[in-house]
Symmetry: C2
Subunit: 220 residues, 2 copies
């Protein structure tokens, strides 16, 4: 990972060109579900984890915990978990919407060469509770910020990330046999994208277009 600049007292001045590139990164980030089988070098994953650890966290609690899901047994458990949750989700839709849902590819669990389960250590002593008395959920939010950091930095190396949320998190936590106080916040499929798109898969397949609601700015 790039070290601090030599003159570490002066923050970098970011150029218009950098801002433009960053916008392209945000536009092309995508949730990837179609992966090539090619492996991702372990040192690239290590670098991405280093970068993820630069994420902000409440009280500097750094509560994110990463588990690489590699064994056939662990992957089969996650696949079964996804399939059950997805079948149940499909039951909640009717008619055309059910058909559309059934046709969507909602995870890259079949092919992604790297799979990372991301947990929040709910009982971490780090941060000494600062900033999370009234909003304890900020601990999990901190782990989410690490996920996003990993996602963006992966994309700069051409690596795609897909976030699978159609999982029973308690079952996944049991199946992966992690510490009792860890709760699953995200399950990430990671690898080389089979296709590249700047528009979300769910827009391309007619599920949910961009909305204007989220862009309004109310004032008080």
């Amino acid at each position: 990972m790039a070290p601090l600049r030599e003159n570490s007292e002066t923050p970098p001045l970011f150029t218009e060109l950098f801002r433009d590139e960053l916008t392209q990164l945000l536009r092309w980030r995508r949730d990837v579900r179609r992966f090539k089988p090619d492996p991702v070098p372990a040192e690239m994953i290590e670098e991405l984890l280093d970068l993820a650890c630069l994420a902000p966290s409440v009280g500097n609690s750094q509560p994110w915990r990463f588990v690489a899901v590699e064994s056939a047994k662990a992957r089969a458990a996650i696949r079964a978990n996804f399939e059950a949750a997805n079948a149940q989700a499909l039951d909640g839709y009717q008619g055309e919407q059910a058909e559309l849902y059934a046709g969507l590819k909602l995870s890259g669990l079949d092919m992604a060469p790297v799979q990372l389960a991301v947990f929040c250590d709910e009982q971490t002593l780090q941060g000494h509770g600062l900033g999370r008395q009234t909003m304890p959920e900020t601990l999990r939010y901190s782990a989410i910020l690490a996920v996003h950091t990993l996602w963006l930095t992966a994309r700069t190396c051409g690596i795609g990330v897909g976030w699978v949320s159609i999982l029973d998190p308690v079952q996944a936590t049991k199946d992966l046999a992690v510490a009792e106080d860890w709760s699953l916040v995200a399950y990430l499929c990671i690898g080389w994208p089979e296709e590249e798109h700047h528009d979300p898969e769910l827009i391309r397949h007619g599920w949910q277009d961009r909305s204007a609601d989220c862009r309004k700015l109310e004032k008080r």
Copy 2:
């Protein structure tokens, strides 16, 4: 905001230089609590909101909602909320730790020229519930991804962001009189930093150092 490149079928190839700059951005992002009083142009805030809306969201639900807190009355309510929550938090520490806590500057509410309350629209129909049957918390996580996107892009313009979580979120939601189904996920102080640092304030002031726990990679 920078439009898509003309050749919108080909994803950008990010250079080593870009990756290095992005790492500097992650290193210097910081949670800012000390602001200059100088105003931030409204069009910069609008641009940051445009960029924030590029964040990923579960089922493309785009559940983030932004409220600019501008009036003296609304700001006073948030200040009172923070002061009560902070006094209560201080009561939870003893001895040296209480002294250290009392000396920390934990918000920029006194000076930040722009203050944004960020909510999650818990009942949005957007996304039609996709991806959040078993992990409904991913809706709030999506709003957090927008917060992080705004934070990083603000920093590229030299603008600092400080996240205030020492607030009673239910009280803040009432005081800001937003829609019933919105829940507060973050309260952001935004403005020009009075000082620049590459190390977190909580490290500099001896509260919580970086930890190695978060960087381990377990395997299953």
